[in-house]
Amino acid sequence: MSDTDAFIVLPADPMRLAAAVQMVATEDPKRTAWLRAGAEQSRSAEPTDPGAARRFQTVLELAFLVASADGLATAERASLSLLLESMIDGALDHATLELHFADLDSAVAMFGRHERLARAASDVSPDACEDALGLATIVALGDGKLSRPELDALVELGSHLGVNEDRVRDIARGFAARVQERLR
């Protein structure tokens, strides 16, 4: 798919872009804190707060499903992993995230993308819907664009979360604008 077909394109040098997306992804300390806590809980064989682990894994899966809606090349997978590592302050290492992506690929192959999206969305609490959509958007923007399949996946996710298409587009545009600000 060419960039001209994408819903959002952020033209920039890949290094600068990665830095800008990372800054936006980590600018909310509250979000970074709960993501990190969830990642740490996920690392433990016996989590003391299974709810935090589950919440983290849910948003991680949703973000992966959206970001991989147009396919995920090896390089994109690596940058996705780097972005997530920065968002959780290294609470999970590269190898663990890569293994998890492979597991999520298997889940899609077995159950279907639409089914996984609906299933993971059902675990999002009503007060966290926009946050989940925002995180998925940031992660999808990691490669500098939000492609049509990624936008469709976001809209589909929004429909499961009770967030209408216009609002989903606004959320996506809002995050893209923040990344662009960081690029200036």
């Binding site: 996920s42 682990a53 663990t96 159950f111 639409h114 059902s122």
Partner: protein, 195 residues
């Protein structure tokens, strides 16, 4: 096929309820959902596909314990009602770890049962699997209604291989868990040989 979620330390297995229209597939899945502890299961999801609908939920059957420290999560799937497109049946079979064939015991559904069983074999073959290689049980549902075939008649028509079979009345819940447990044993046994 079962997939392992290493981060969640879970082994995920897909169980498909298959059978002719209105045989009680959804009633089986709904009963298991209703009886499962809310904290051990996900929500029941009804997802519209292009032509039909897929109904599914997942739960953790505590009585099955763990496999090498990994918890088991069963995902129960069916295509409810009368399925109009074979594509929906094929899709739901994708990656199945175990299949429950729900037969309607009523005499006037004998042909529908046989057709559905044949359709299952055909659709599985198209996904590269043979029914003989997948954990498989048969449930004779609606044993509590009038004009049902005898067990011998049902067995002769549907179960020449002698796979585990169960009588049930999904409407009342009778035999529903026995069927699932029967299949679980087969799925676990296969998992044990794979891990």
């Amino acid at each position: 096929m079962s997939y392992v979620n290493h981060l969640a330390r879970e082994i995920n297995c897909k169980i498909v309820y298959y059978g002719p229209g209105l045989c009680g597939k959804t009633t089986n899945v709904q009963h298991i959902f209703d009886v499962s502890k809310p904290e051990m299961r996900g929500k029941m999801i009804s997802l519209a596909t292009e032509s039909d609908r897929t109904l599914f939920f997942d739960f953790m059957p505590l009585d099955l314990g763990t496999v090498k420290g990994y918890k088991l999560r069963f995902h129960l799937y069916t295509v409810p009602g009368q399925v109009f497109y074979d594509a929906s049946r094929k899709l739901v079979l994708r990656g199945a770890d175990g299949i429950v064939f729900v037969a309607d015991s009523q005499a006037d559904r004998a042909e529908a049962n046989s057709e559905s069983l044949e359709n299952l074999q055909t659709n599985l073959a198209e996904t590269g699997q043979a029914l003989e290689s997948v954990p498989f049980v048969i449930q004779y549902n609606k044993r509590d209604v009038a004009d049902v075939l005898s067990l011998e008649e049902l067995r002769a028509a549907l179960n020449p291989r002698g796979v585990p079979e169960f009588e049930a009345s999904a409407r009342t819940g009778a035999g529903v868990f026995e069927t699932l447990k029967g299949l679980s044993r087969l799925v676990l046994s296969r998992l044990a040989t794979q891990t």
